[in-house]
Amino acid sequence: MSLLLEIDAQKGALIRGEAVERPAPKPVKPANEGAGDVRRKIVPVVKPPAGPSASEWENGAYVSLQNWLEGAPKGAAILLQPADDVRALEGRVGDVPLISVDFHRIGDGRGYTHAFLLRKRLNYAGPLRAIGAVTADQVFALARVGFDSFALRADQNGETALAALGTFSVPYQGAVVAGTAADREAALLDAKVRLLDLALKNIAMSHNRPALASSLSAEDMVIADAIARLNLPIDVFTLDTGRLHSETLDLVEATKQRYGREIEVVKPDAGAVSDYVTRHGADAFYESVELRKLCCNIRKVAPLNTALKGRSAWVTGQRREQAVTRGALPETERDAERDMQKYNPLADWTWTDVLAYANRFDIPLNPLYQRGYVSIGCEPCTKAIRPDEDPRAGRWWWENQDSRECGLHTAANTRAA
């Protein structure tokens, strides 16, 4: 038996059988700078058969559609040819142990329509196999029209075929194009989660010690969850300013427990903090923007810079929706001041998306959200807001709109990249 890829409702996709030995591949040399033909041809290893691709399957013989209609033995499997009219089987597919569809050429797409009709029109629920010219690059579409078994062409690689089953996560047809608003919302969330996963994988692959600077906000919890779910080498650290809510600090422990991964807790320089407190007073940030910024500097910005030292990228949970100052937030930008790349993979997420993710993956969230907090920072500088208020209205509410960033994300530091 050659390689058989099967999708099992319980066990998922697996491969049976053995690959056929094939000659070592010869790489192609593209030479298309000049005139004339552009490359050497690679010839298929396997020639397409003239007649049906097989006469039997694991448990017996195949019969043609014609023979089956004329009264084949019970338990026979049917082998359909491209020109067959599948509708002849209407009402008669109940106890067929296997229907196989023969693909004579990769480009002959009639077998896809056979599968659609068998599944959707004739309600055939048994195993449906593609045989013949079946390559790894077709299995995704074949599976989508209803095939659950693929006898791969002899030169195919099983692992490639298996991986190809996951090529597209959210195809357009069905729910996305014609579905209800709820279908569409679910598809959009699927797509956002998958885009987040791809972005994080890409960051993990292309950087030296990338890290998520987590404020333990819901956004950062989403990213931390994805990092843990994908088991990516992206560090997670959090800045303990010394003025956080106890609810927030509790989350550090909860997160460690949940994922079994380390979260580094970075503290401000003790000397600088006590200096500020003695010179200006512990809550001097209410007095002026300068003193507020100084406090943020000591308790957040400086520790952040320390934590980012030696890394080539950092990840944040900023979203465009969060503030007017973030309206044009790009998904990736150059952090010029720190000379590193900065990623905002949730830039186009809405608050609803964040909650939907939290709900789907059941991630721990700061209980303060339940109490009307939208943006959670240091205890003295954060308050709950009314649902109709601007989300940033709960931060440094005594200041003007445009100064309300803590210095971690000032636009002047960064530019789109």
Partner: protein
Amino acid sequence: MYRYDAVDRLIVEERVAQFRDQTERYLAGLLDEDAFKPLRLQNGLYIQKHAPMLRIAIPYGVLSSEQVRMLSSIARRYDRSYVHFTTRQNLQYNWPKVEDVWKILAELATVSMHAIQTSGSCVRNITTDPFAGVAADEIVDPRPYCEIMRQWSTLHPEFAALPRKFKVAFNGAKEDRAAIYVHDLAFDLYRDQAGEVRMKVLVGGGQGRTPRIAAVIKDDLHWTELLTYSEAVLRTYNKLGRRDNIFKARIKIQVEALGAEEFARLTNEEWAHLKNGPNTLTQEALDRVAAHFVDPVLGAPSEAASQNLPTDARFREWMTQNVVDVRHPDYAAVNISLKRKDIAPGDATSDEMDAIADIADRYSFSEVRVNHTQNLVLPYVARAKLFELWAELDKLGFARPNISLASDIICCPGGDFCSLANARSIPLSARVAERLEPIESELGPLAIKMSGCINACGHHHVGHIGILGVEKGGEDWYQVLVGGRADKGGRLASLLGKAVREDDIPAIVEGIARTYLNQRQNGETFIDTFERIGAEPFKPALEISEQAQA
């Protein structure tokens, strides 16, 4: 502009990853030529005469200035600093390297663009009126329907290996500017008595070696059944279309063989199972897609009835020829002529593309449209700024006042690029344009269309004058046709006679044009005159010239 959402973005990103993997396997020798071919084709990658060619999709011809800049920058970095706009509102790069293509596609993905299904035996890029959304004679804005069709047909698992390519077009205006009668499947949108959007469904039109005018197989399809009906048409075609002969595989051959009525009957039989099914569209689904089109807010029409535009004669000529009225009285759509002297029709350099992007930002809310006549359109120009814009376009050489005139020739890449060509149509088109230029404003609207071979990418079958390259004893020869049209229900041009030498073509075309000038009656255009007198009176033009050479 259509704005991508997460689903759109993810699909193009995953598509790039898939094609990268396929290319790498191909280059490693793990994927044979036969298996790689359909994969690269459905990512827009052809192997042409001198090099691979990459065709990028411009869905329904709409581009943002950001996209124009990216296309220009890609041309600079991966190609020879120019692009070619095709007769199907797409764009082509003529010299990319196979191993670079996935990188190009990855860069395009960052500006919501792709090359999915721009080639191969599948549903191709959807085309429509370049003035969609602004046209004064528009009945229904076709763009949301185009986009729904684009989404549904993108990577449709059942229809990725059709017998042959499958081109779909939409028209929603009184005048058909999308050549819907020469498409495999087309929809003509209108409103019924109750104000509901319905569609005339056309199948089996096409050009190529067997040109056919489409047949109407349904004349009152309710818009909610757009997808179910399309599915029925495609399934019928996928089952019955010929796969034994590539030249007989298009749906038009099937429709002709069965007869349009029988084809309609089979489609309706299949449709009966699908109608009111899960693919039936809802108002909510349509609104959702329509909301992705973020059009500029043009404000209420101003009181000032007439603008005082300068009387500069060249400007006035340009106004008459290249500027089109739109619904909003204070605005106009402006054609940017890509038919310039000594430059191949539809070509633009990277520098020119950057200049166009810049102009679009300043004059047209950052939007550009691509016309199937290989010109570009600025859809939202304030009338008060027309003179200023003209001066800028004029400086760049984009203000040739020749839209729909004789020198606005549609021409395929031909023998200079295409491996299938019999003739080098581009240099010839330049000579024809030059010959007619002195009389072109007197001639008025005259669509000359030229193809390098019978595949008819230059749409010669629907040219008022069509010119087709054929090979004869190793030399370039040409057939001349007259009387075709792509609009008003379409009509195929009639062949005037035997093929003639390349050198004779400019004189012959002039002879045909002069025949019209002699024969025309009170205000008739070329095509009006043809409709009255037929092909016969034009035949001498062909012979006179032959004798003159002999």
